[in-house]
Symmetry: C2
Subunit: 176 residues, 2 copies
């Protein structure tokens, strides 16, 4: 498809909305309102015992403590997605990883949201405390790998569900 | 948490943005900009041979044809989420289902988006053509269950990935 034009109809430090016109492959033209997002990363950080998750208030969905993989928005100019993932892992969980691997890129809500989110696997973990954001209220949760199936049944965050399903496949592959 | 106030700062037929203030459980107050969405449903419709998917242009993420489970927004007043799922299955795939089951509710992007999406399993399928929306360009794709692992590796839509992982678990449970 080809984007014919785009006009920002709402602009804020957090979220933009654009009115766009596209020409599809079949030649037809469509108008779409798109919530513009710079993209994000999520980090599946695990060792032989646990996967490192975070729990935080998520006002947008009215949840006091939502369990998620560490994650962040690509909002620092010049920073790559891998660098963003490394910074977030340090800031949110206090860890560095020797090995990084791109696992999967997902579209959280492709009907109207431009966000793409790349899930990285981070292994070979060592302590590395990073700067913490005092406006955030993040608790680290170390989920035992033995409790993965229970966690999958209870988790509601889409990126975290996908990450834990992928982790389960990796662990089964190792065992098998 | 408690919502103290909310002001709509952007309003359109498709997307609203609200500026909100919340009091957290610890007593602190935070301001959040929230993209407001009425919620959605996704339908995991399958029989012994195939799972019924749809392929459509998704301009928001710049993809000519994205493979997804049938889905829809809760934008018809007075319609329940189950009724919405039944209507979408008929409109997008031309099917009715004898058995409906709530599988999982996910938050696609809980940092700033209020959307919650419930995935239903739909089985006992029979033909039931519904009204089609001529502005939509939807193709039905019948994915053989034997190709599920390949599909999971290739799919980018978050709700569809979660649904296919859940389907794989159900099929394994049946076999085991």
């Amino acid at each position: 498809m080809e984007q014919l034009n785009s006009e920002t109809v709402f602009d804020s430090p957090f979220v933009d909305v654009a009115q766009k016109r596209f020409r599809r492959e079949d030649g037809s033209e469509v108008d779409r309102q798109v919530v513009e997002h710079p993209g994000a990363v999520g980090i599946l950080a695990y060792d032989d015992e646990v996967v490192h998750l975070v729990s935080q208030p998520r006002e947008a969905v009215g949840v006091d403590r939502l369990l998620e993989i560490p994650a962040g928005t690509l909002d620092v100019e010049g920073e790559s997605d891998l660098e963003c993932a490394q910074r977030e892992l340090s800031e949110e969980v206090g860890l560095a990883a020797a090995h990084w691997e791109r696992l999967h890129t997902i579209y959280p809500s492709p009907g109207y949201l431009s966000e793409t989110l790349t899930i990285f696997a981070a292994t070979g973990l060592a302590e590395k405390p990073g700067e913490t954001d005092e406006t955030e209220d993040i608790e680290v949760v170390r989920l035992p790998l033995a409790d993965l199936d229970e966690a999958i049944a209870a988790i509601a965050d889409a990126k975290t569900l996908v990450a834990l399903f992928l982790l389960r496949d990796r662990l089964r592959g190792k065992r098998g």
